[in-house]
Amino acid sequence: MPKRTFWLAAAALVAYAFLYLPLVIVVVYSFNDSRLNAEWVGFTFDWYRKLAANEEMLLAAGNSLLIALVASAVSTVFGTLAGLAMHRYRLRLLPILVLAPIAIPEILMGVSLLIFFVMLNFTLGLVSVALAHIAFCIGFVAIVVRARLSGMDESLVEAARDCGASPAQAFFHVTLPLIMPGVIAGALMAFTLSIDDFVITFFTAGAGTVTLPLQIYSMIKIAVTPEVNAVSTLLMLLTLMLIVIASKVSPSLLRSEHA
């Protein structure tokens, strides 16, 4: 038994190293005083200074932030409604529409929205990207909210209704406060998914619009530069912060049953 545990732990350690080593390398080289991401030369903040002066990158970051804010706000409202509807009513179409965007290959949603927007003569840009992001974020919010609802005591809503609350009052004064941790966690999840999305953005952004992932893509297609390491490190930091907040608000979010 101890021998078996040893090998198991060794194999797991290899798997964890495989998961983390690449990210650690990106972060470490973002402070490396060398253009080549090849060996450690010395410590520097130069790449972050270069980044702060890179107007294209700042514009891309601003766009990403704006899209993520709008997409997460709207998809949180729609996703919460969808989660509530899937929890309360027996619906046939909604669960399919909510879960299908998560289940199918991402590229399908990207290209079908591209055809859709172009056929409608809708100019590709920030708005089309935000509309697309809302569509794929709704499902994730709905899943988190529904999980939260399934742990809620339904008799509380009954009690509120018995005391004369209208359905809207019961929702805003009883249901919503109770599922709030799920709603906030869903919103943070949608924000992260939106700010990180590459594939769907790639197809719906058109030629003139850049987001952070699109900017990173065009930079690494040309050359590997530690500036990419610096922006990656900052983006990882932001994501990490959002996850920490989400896990504080809704501890069950990070357990396997909702992942």
Partner: protein, 301 residues
């Protein structure tokens, strides 16, 4: 449960907005794409008018015929299939010990170990691809060491980056958490008493694993395989960034059809065939999984 709070209007007030949104921005675009796959490509890319100059509605099977007649596309599909299958199997081999370790550890430590698996998944997709550009780059330690060894044996130096190897490593890297999570969720529910009983009856470690743990974990294996296979099958960013010219997968051809060649009907055909086959494989995995579990329950495993 009484449903007083859920009158007919309430239901549509709640379900209506997300339903309408997803109908407009998911279902309709998907349907438009299905129609587009039967249309004629436009002279300057995109689509030719649906109603031709002669007043006839122009719908045809030409793009489908082209797909099934040109062996090139079948080859790329087969290649994508092998990449996705290899990714799935490697993920399974890596994820199994990890999921077992997490499931066997103390309850307090489980959440942390699980969080450590999920965390890299939340970092940006492109960053994770970029990390492998650094690791496999020609000036990095790995390539220099490898080529030093090859040189000592009089072999030509090889490029790790822009190769099938780079694509596969990164595919595994990106999809590993999708395999660990369902496997863990399954393994965590296993009853230790079964293994103890087998041991009492004289089964050794391998026998206990192959005849009890593994068969019981099959639902988790199939769920994880579907979660890895579907996205891996349609991937385009990884071969696009890390692959060489021969490593184009079906996702790359779709991207090319939509953004470079601008043959939308053909791109639509490829997207539809991709989605249909990915979902068919997932359904197959689910069906095999259910059947396997049924057999186990019936006791003839």
């Amino acid at each position: 449960m009484t449903r007083r709070h859920s009158g007919r209007w309430g239901k549509w007030l709640v379900a209506g907005p997300p339903l309408v949104y997803l109908f407009v921005f998911f279902a309709i675009p998907a349907l438009i794409m299905v129609v587009a796959s039967f249309r004629t490509p436009g002279d300057f890319g995109g689509l030719a008018p649906l109603v031709g100059a002669d007043g006839e509605i122009d719908l045809n099977l030409e793009s489908y015929t082209r797909f099934f007649e040109d062996a090139l596309y079948a080859q790329i599909f087969v290649k994508s299939f092998w990449y996705a299958l290899a990714t799935t199997l490697i993920c399974l081999v890596l994820a199994y010990p990890l999921a077992t370790l997490i499931a066997n550890s103390e309850r307090r430590r489980r959440d942390l170990l699980l969080l450590l698996v999920i965390l890299p998944f939340w970092s940006n997709f492109l960053i994770r691809i970029y990390a492998w550009m650094i690791i496999l780059g020609p000036n990095a330690a790995l390539a220099r060491t490898l080529n030093g060894v090859l040189g000592a044996f009089g072999q030509e130096p090889v490029s790790l980056l822009f190769s099938a190897f780079a694509v596969l490593v990164c595919l595994v890297y990106v999809h590993l958490p999708f395999m660990v999570l369902p496997l863990y969720a399954n393994l965590e529910k296993h009853d230790q008493a079964l293994l103890d009983a087998a041991q009492d009856l004289g089964a050794n470690g391998w026998q206990r694993f192959w005849r009890i743990t593994f068969p019981l974990s099959l639902p988790g294996v199939y769920a994880g395989s579907a979660l890895v296979f579907i996205p891996a099958f349609g991937i385009f960013a990884i071969p696009d960034i890390l692959g060489g010219p021969d490593d184009s997968l079906i996702g790359n051809v779709i991207k090319q059809q939509f953004l470079e060649t601008r043959d939308w009907p053909f791109g639509s055909v490829l997207s539809i065939v991709l989605t249909a086959s990915a979902l068919a494989f997932a359904a197959l995995a689910a069906w095999v999984g259910r059947r396997g579990v049924g057999r186990l329950a019936a006791g003839d495993a």
